[in-house]
């Protein structure tokens, strides 16, 4: 770990001030950043602890939910409104990591998790364009079983590891950020980016921008939603494939849908094509299949992750079928 200085921010303005002009990083629960620093993947010279900022989870005027970025994952998952109105979010959080880590990890920090690609972590012995731009990608021909099938680039085939973010992508969440230019909001699905030629940049945040809160819209039909995660052991493992989905079914027909996939791309993958394919159709298995096929039509596999296309297709169909069954 690099030597660094540590300060605790008292509010967001203080955090921005402390961060300015330094090779600094904001520190939440530390569950990813401390690990990356120990592996010398991250080498900040200063840490600005933002866990003292708002962790409040409050219902907003529009009937949605405003979640302070410093809220712990456990706090969000156990919040009564999340459990009853956004079950996919509660389930996504509970499917991630372990009880101890969920008690530490902040919501803001969860959004900024970095990939678990082994070559990204291996500072001593591997090439990685995300860690060191233009150094090459050892995953392309290496261990890429858990790598991207959608939206990858020749520069990077890594996936985003978060479970929570998959639900947030499906739920039309909004991210509140503050930076030099003041406060702004952006759609959650625009927070993370695809790798393109710059896999070293994970998000669309400006230098020094701070995530202060996440807002969930009311999205009433999300009270019937689910998160299904498929992994190599039954708990405490990253997703091979995950699906967050909510269906609004009226008179046997799908009138609205929200779907996102995890484990498939460099970012939590909002499945717009699948949603469009469902719109207005009957809630039946062939329709679900067509929707899954539509979403995965552009999927491309690497040497070891071809199974993910079939797995994502099946998992998506089954998740939708479960929701439809529950709605009848």
């Amino acid at each position: 770990m690099n030597p660094f200085s540590y300060v605790r921010a008292v509010d967001s303005a203080d955090a921005l001030r402390q961060r300015a002009g330094h090779a600094a990083a904001y520190l939440g629960g530390g569950t990813n950043l401390v690990d990356l620093m120990r592996e010398t993947v991250a080498r900040p010279e200063k840490l600005v602890d933002v866990t003292g900022l708002s962790s409040a989870i409050t219902q907003s005027d529009d009937g949605g939910l405003l979640i302070g970025a410093a809220a712990r994952n456990t706090a969000l998952a156990e919040h009564r409104v999340v459990r009853t109105r956004y079950p996919m979010l509660a389930r996504a959080i509970l499917a991630g990591a372990s009880g101890q880590i969920r008690n530490m990890a902040t919501v803001g920090g969860n959004l900024l998790q970095r990939t678990r690609c082994a070559y990204f972590y291996d500072t001593d012995g591997s090439h990685c364009n995300k860690r060191r731009p233009a150094s090459g990608c050892d995953a392309l021909e290496g261990f890429n079983r858990n790598h991207a099938i959608l939206g990858a680039s020749p520069a990077c085939v890594a996936t985003h590891p978060s479970d929570m973010c998959v639900a947030l992508a499906a739920l039309d969440a909004t991210v509140h950020v503050e930076g030099k230019g003041g406060a702004r909001t952006l759609p959650f699905i625009d927070l993370h980016r695809l790798p393109g030629d710059h896999p070293d940049i994970d998000t669309t945040l400006e230098q020094g921008e701070l995530i202060t809160a996440i807002a969930l819209p009311p999205l009433t039909f999300a009270s019937r939603s689910n998160y299904r995660k498929v992994r190599d052991r039954s708990s405490y493992a990253f997703a091979l494939i995950s699906v967050a989905a909510a269906l609004k079914i009226e008179g046997g027909h799908i009138s609205d849908a929200r779907i996102a996939l995890g484990g498939v791309a460099h970012k939590p993958w909002r499945a717009f094509k699948a949603e469009a394919a469902l719109q207005g159709h009957e809630a039946t298995e062939p329709v679900f299949r067509a929707a899954a096929m539509a979403e995965l039509a552009d999927a491309q596999s690497l040497s070891r992750n071809g199974f993910k296309i079939e797995l994502a297709t099946r998992t998506l169909i089954a998740t939708l079928a479960d929701l439809a069954g529950g709605a009848s």
Binding site: F4, Y6, M104
Partner: protein
């Protein structure tokens, strides 16, 4: 402000790189909290902070100024072992004993989560009271790895404590 470790104050380390785990093990001579990976992947370093279980290897000690930390060394009271410690012996919930402090601290923290009604990945109903099934306890303890294979004894010990000695935890 110092950290409060098992009721005693301990100064915040000068070097902010020092993890809570290394502070305990190397500076405070409390090696009961174990280092199994230093990566947040095994749970051996689990301690209780204000009653909540966390991984001390991913915790920078400076972040925990003023907080109440309980380690495995702080569980036994004047009347002897903590019920969870006793139950681990009775049910043979360990072999080599290395993951054991983390399992025990995690189990105690988990019990509080169960009482609070926090659901888990395997809870069929997110809003119902937590049923103390084997599966619920297994899922909630899955962040604590054991390589000797004492899993059955660990879950038996926890069930025993939660079902019969709940008030003592």
């Amino acid at each position: 402000m110092p950290l409060i470790i098992n009721g005693s104050p301990a100064p915040v380390p000068h070097d902010p790189r020092v993890s809570l785990l290394d502070l305990l093990r190397e500076s405070l001579h409390l090696p009961g909290t174990k280092k199994g990976c230093d990566q947040g992947a095994c749970g051996a370093c689990t301690v209780l902070v204000d009653g909540e279980r966390i991984l001390s290897c991913l915790a920078l000690a400076v972040q925990y100024e003023g907080r109440e930390i309980t380690t495995v060394e702080g569980l036994a009271g004047e009347n002897g072992l903590h019920p969870m410690q006793e139950a681990f012996i009775v049910h043979d919930g360990f072999q080599c004993g290395y993951c054991t402090p983390g399992q025990i601290c995690s189990a105690i923290g988990m019990a509080a989560e169960v009482r609070r009604g926090v659901p888990s990945h395997v809870s069929a109903d997110l809003t119902a009271d937590v049923a103390l099934t084997r599966e619920e306890l297994q899922e909630r303890m899955s962040g604590n790895l054991c390589r000797c294979g004492a899993h059955n004894g660990i879950i038996d010990a926890i069930r025993d404590v939660l079902e019969t000695r709940e008030t003592a935890v």
